[in-house]
């Protein structure tokens, strides 16, 4: 008898094997799943920076007051201990990792997969083979206004032109949306790859960079236009644009799995992720990829890379949603993993993020 069939029976959804029936979808799935072994943690390298930006998350909270541990041997020990507990990918960030090149070399020697978040003013030695994310917050005039740095974009391009490690990360704020087209043209002309971030306010921030509904909509339109214009140089997808410009933040849309928002330590980021400060200590209650960001306003590209990717299950409900998720993961890997080449996007439609109860 099948009467009174429990709601646990899956009868109205596409089977997973059917989602993989299209050869190009199957190929993309097999390509991305080879990277499922990546397990990240993040590390503040130094509490120094060579510029000071409005809305910088690093200088919020108590992070910048942690003492700097500059001992290469301590860093080497940390990297070995991280590897021993299963970490396979390091994100070296705050405040400005390029100011600690000896520590970068130690990390790279011990942990060969990772990424460095930098403002790009000081070139990181070519021997450090991590991905390098160079933060761009608008054209040179805007950068001077918000970051007190002269000719920043020109210097960034000089340092990282045609560098296979480099991805320029354009952070859309409320007041730099209109500059993105010119900046993208300049980057593309210089042979640079770029992706997009969305300004996510630090806790308590109510300044002019914070997005509103109108600016998020304009941001999405601009992202889509640039993706369409420069599909080979812009590492992004339609679903990236949706996920990061919704009026709801990432935590609301996908339920953030970083420890700060996730009490479970059973599996995944809640179990393995740590955010180390410059004194090499970490605090589970504060641990996420962009600590001191207002979780309700978080649309950060780094957060999405983990949070959206982790929600495979709820994107496996229909072909377009699954293809969109694959585009997102393909983008994430192209941005974060050295040697990974982005494929052509599989779904260019606007697909809305599925709810948790998709199954």
């Amino acid at each position: 008898m099948t009467m009174n069939r429990p709601k646990t029976v899956r009868s109205d959804q596409t089977k997973f094997k059917d989602l993989l029936a299209r050869p190009e979808v199957r190929a993309r799935w097999e390509k991305v799943r080879r990277y499922f072994f990546l397990r990240e943690s993040t590390y503040d390298m130094t509490n120094r920076c060579n510029i000071r930006c409005d809305g910088c998350y690093y200088y919020e909270g108590d992070k910048p007051f942690a003492a700097e541990n500059c001992s290469p041997e301590d860093w080497r020990s940390l990297m070995r201990a991280e590897k021993a507990r299963g970490i396979t990918y390091v994100v070296l960030a705050g405040a400005e990792p390029s100011l600690a090149p000896d520590l970068l070399a130690v990390c790279y020697a011990e942990m060969p997969l990772g990424c460095i978040a930098t403002n790009g003013l000081k070139k990181i030695p070519a021997t450090v083979g991590y991905k390098i994310h160079i933060s761009v917050w608008g054209n040179d005039a805007t950068s001077f206004k918000t970051r007190s740095a002269k000719n920043l974009l020109k210097k960034q391009i000089e340092n990282y032109r045609n560098d296979p490690r480099a991805v320029f990360v354009y952070t859309f704020t409320r007041d730099n949306i209109g500059e993105a087209r010119d900046v993208a043209a300049e980057l593309v002309a210089a042979g640079c790859k770029m992706t997009f971030n969305v300004f996510s306010s630090p806790v308590g921030y109510a300044g002019p960079l914070r997005h509103n509904a109108e600016s998020l909509l304009k941001t999405r339109e601009t992202m889509m236009a640039l993706l369409s214009r420069y599909p080979a140089q812009v590492l992004f997808s339609a679903y990236n644009a949706v996920a990061h410009t919704s009026d709801r933040g990432l935590n609301d849309l996908y339920r953030c799995s970083y420890p700060r928002c996730n009490p479970s330590q059973d599996i995944g980021l809640g179990r393995s992720f740590r955010q180390y400060r410059t004194d090499l200590n970490w605090d589970r209650s504060a641990a996420c990829c962009v600590p001191d960001t207002d979780c309700a306003d978080c649309r950060h590209y780094a957060a999405g890379s983990a949070v959206v990717t982790a929600r495979l299950y709820r994107h496996a409900g229909d072909p377009d949603t699954f293809a969109s998720w694959l585009d997102y993961v393909d983008t994430y890997l192209a941005v974060w993993a050295m040697g990974y080449e982005k494929g052509e996007n599989l779904c260019n439609k606007i697909i809305h993020p599925p709810r948790a109860a998709a199954g």
Partner: protein, 90 residues
């Protein structure tokens, strides 16, 4: 602990799926320890588990809610979970 033949068959099939999906070597469905902790001992992570759950959903025509993933720590627990889900249909 004695187990019925239906559960035995599920144990074997789940082991096969895990071996196949994770491309495990040096283990067969017959030698796979159903009590082994998949996270602590085998080292699988959330993405692997999500993949296995999707394949199991197809195989047994059930829904495995993502909130239930932490319960699926061993092959034995997965099989008991599946058995419980399919039981009302028998």
């Amino acid at each position: 602990m004695p187990e019925n033949s239906a559960l035995k068959a599920i144990v074997r099939r789940v082991a096969e799926i895990i071996i196949d999906e994770l491309k495990l070597e040096d283990v067969t469905p017959d030698t796979f320890n159903p009590e082994m902790d998949l996270v602590d001992e085998l080292g699988i992570d959330s993405m692997d588990l999500a993949t296995i759950a999707l394949v199991l959903q197809d195989e047994y025509k059930i829904v495995i809610d993502e909130d239930d993933y932490p319960k699926l720590k061993t092959v034995r627990l997965i099989c008991e979970y599946i058995e419980e889900k399919i039981a009302p249909r028998h």
